[in-house]
């Protein structure tokens, strides 16, 4: 009896020990071995980065919580991050490290503790599960600093410098050899025909700016083309009407047309009211310009710049009046509408090339040649890159990676 009782007690003790050991192994959290904080590279001093290795006890039930403080010895009560332990892995670390960027300015008044003009922040990492919390021993600290160069954009910068050098090299080349060959752009060659037709018919020429303001490069390109067209219109002694949706574009267009008339020796023919503000909203603008086309039966319509949904209404109205229509836009969503309804359409980059093409100046033509060479290089990179990527070499894709 005594032996049975002893065996029973021993069994209970062994079972208790075994269950305690299993619970310990299954439930206890092993904190990450290291915890680092550092200034986020390539930023504007708004964030700090935190990095720590993955813990073997990560699970769907476990979380990482980061607390921050402005001083090392004060309580860490401000929670700045709470994530599931199986998320936010560092890119390329094969799930071995976690990486997060924190914007401490969101949680602290930046003037409350300033060290050398900048706030230092202290961080404590805690791993939590349903039953327990463990804190990583190290307290990490970092001071956010503004960087003077975004190294993630280095490839972009190198491409810009290379392309700029190419442009200047071809401009210099064009100075020595002014008879550069350029492929024919039918839409631009047709401008003279359109203006001649308007002159013969005694009807006005309508120049329609796109909807973007002067901050858009396509509007600047459109204004450049307007300058070239205005000189020819002044020489042909016909009427040029320029409709605008933006008052700044209108002011610039007035100056451009005025100067062009002056250069053509016809300052007396310039009428300021012919470069006018049609409306300041999209569809009122469409109504106003369409009305002009129908009432005045314009003989030639030019649609130059960036267009939105109004493109088809304008071009279709112009087509219904029998006008010669030439469009140029870099808005690829509107290109099909212009191609359908206009006699000639300049696609994408031809809008930017138009001014240089019309002027026939060697300096401008040199830059067009550089554009063609750059396109050739990009096409080669695409073909070679696609071939290399197919066999698992991502070098060229990496070169062109956007930050």
């Amino acid at each position: 009896m005594y032996k049975i009782f002893l065996t029973f007690i021993l069994s209970i003790l062994i079972l208790q020990y075994a269950s305690a050991t299993t619970a310990d192994e299954a439930g206890s959290l092993i904190p990450p071995a290291d915890f680092q904080a550092f200034d986020t590279p390539n930023d504007n001093a708004k964030s700090v980065s935190l990095r720590w290795p993955s813990s073997p006890s990560e699970s769907a039930a476990a979380e990482y919580v980061v607390y921050a403080s402005l001083r090392k010895n004060t309580p860490f009560i401000t929670e700045v991050l709470r994530i599931n332990s199986k998320t936010m892995y560092e890119e390329g670390s094969d799930s071995n490290f976690h990486y997060v960027e924190i914007k401490p300015g969101k949680f602290f008044n930046k003037d409350s503790d300033v060290t050398g003009g900048r706030s230092s922040y202290f961080f404590k990492l805690v791993m939590m599960s349903n039953s327990e919390n463990v804190t990583v021993n190290e307290i990490a600290s970092a001071t956010p600093k503004g960087n003077w160069f975004n190294w993630k954009k280095l490839n972009n910068f190198i491409i810009l410098i290379t392309f700029s050098a190419l442009v200047f090299w071809f401009i210099e080349h064009a100075k020595k050899n002014p008879n550069l060959y350029l492929r024919k752009i039918s839409g631009l060659d047709a401008i003279d025909d359109a203006l001649g037709r308007a002159t013969e018919m005694g009807k006005p020429v309508l120049y329609v700016h796109g909807l973007n303001g002067m901050g858009s490069i396509s509007t600047i390109a459109a204004v450049n083309i307007l300058g070239r067209i205005a000189i020819r219109v002044a020489e042909y002694d016909t009427t040029l009407k320029v409709s605008n949706i933006d008052p700044i574009v209108m002011s610039v267009s007035q100056e451009v047309v005025k100067e062009s008339y002056l250069e053509a020796g016809r300052p007396d023919a310039y009428v300021q009211d012919n470069v006018f503000m049609a409306a300041s909203e999209q569809f009122p603008y469409v109504a106003a310009v369409s009305g002009i086309m129908i009432r005045e039966k314009t003989a030639a319509n030019f649609f130059m710049g960036y267009f939105y949904a109004e493109s088809l209404i304008l071009a279709e109205t112009g087509a219904s009046t029998g006008a010669i229509q030439i469009a140029a836009t870099d808005s690829y969503t509107q290109l099909p509408f212009f191609i359908t309804t206009c006699d000639y359409t300049l696609i994408g980059e031809e809008l930017y090339a138009a001014s240089a093409y019309l002027s026939r100046e060697p300096l401008l033509l040199g830059s067009l040649r550089a554009q063609d060479i750059a396109k050739g290089i990009i096409i080669s990179a695409l073909v070679i890159g696609a071939a290399l990527a197919t066999v698992g070499i991502g070098f060229i894709s990496f070169l062109f990676k956007a930050s």
Binding site: I217, S218, S251, M277, F283, I313, G348, Y352
Partner: protein, 217 residues
């Protein structure tokens, strides 16, 4: 005079062009502040430019009325519409223009019951123009137009439920057309546009392209 009309604008274009080009690569606070200041300048200038636009609009239509050009009656609506809008805008539901804009005023009523429906009417005309433009394009006179017609029919049918009922492969073919040949063409255009925009910017920044200042060169 040439100094103020040519040289000064070219210097400003050069300095601002270089600064803003490098600003893109500099994340520092100073660079961000510069961008903010320039953006605010842009907004301020645009605010004042509204008066120039309004002057141009009123001057143009006033001259039409004065000279009794054909259709001058339409020009009276410019003054009528602008006058009523300005009066109710300034009245601001009885709070006048020194207070914040009030909700549910006559100004709002005119916006929601005149301008919005009129704009929607113009937009809806697009559907009819699309039909007429499509008819002209899809007459299949050339091989290119035939390809366009076939692609358009597949994409249109592939995007509506009846397409899958006609032939189960229509939706995936439509998706392929949009995501492969269409996407390739779109990216080709975008690459060309980007290169063209950079080249144009360089020409303007370095004063090679001056047509935007008016006249030739």
């Amino acid at each position: 005079m040439n100094f103020f009309k040519r040289t000064i604008p070219l210097i400003i274009a050069f300095i601002m062009g270089i600064m803003m080009a490098f600003q893109y690569y500099v994340p520092h606070e100073a660079s961000q502040s510069l961008l903010k200041v320039v953006t605010r300048w842009g907004i301020t200038i645009a605010g004042f430019a509204v008066f120039i636009g309004a002057y141009s609009l009123f001057h143009l239509h006033w001259n039409k009325i004065k000279r009794k050009v054909p259709g001058w009656g339409y020009s009276t609506f410019v003054f009528f519409g602008a006058g009523i809008t300005i009066i109710f805008g300034l009245y601001n539901g009885g709070e006048f223009f020194l207070h914040d804009k009030q909700e549910g005023t006559m100004f709002d009523w005119m916006y929601f019951n005149v301008q919005v429906p009129a704009g929607a009417t113009m937009f809806s005309i697009l559907a009819f123009f699309m039909a007429s433009a499509a008819y002209r394009t899809f007459r299949a006179r050339t091989s290119e137009a035939t390809i366009l017609l076939i692609a358009a029919v597949i994409v249109m049918l592939g995007r509506v439920p009846v397409g899958a009922l006609i032939w189960e492969y229509l939706p995936p073919i439509a998706d392929w057309i949009m995501s492969v040949p269409n996407m390739a063409a779109k990216r080709g255009i975008l690459i060309g546009v980007s290169i063209g925009a950079i080249a144009t910017s360089l020409r303007i920044i370095f004063g090679i392209e001056r047509a935007y200042l008016g006249g030739g060169d």
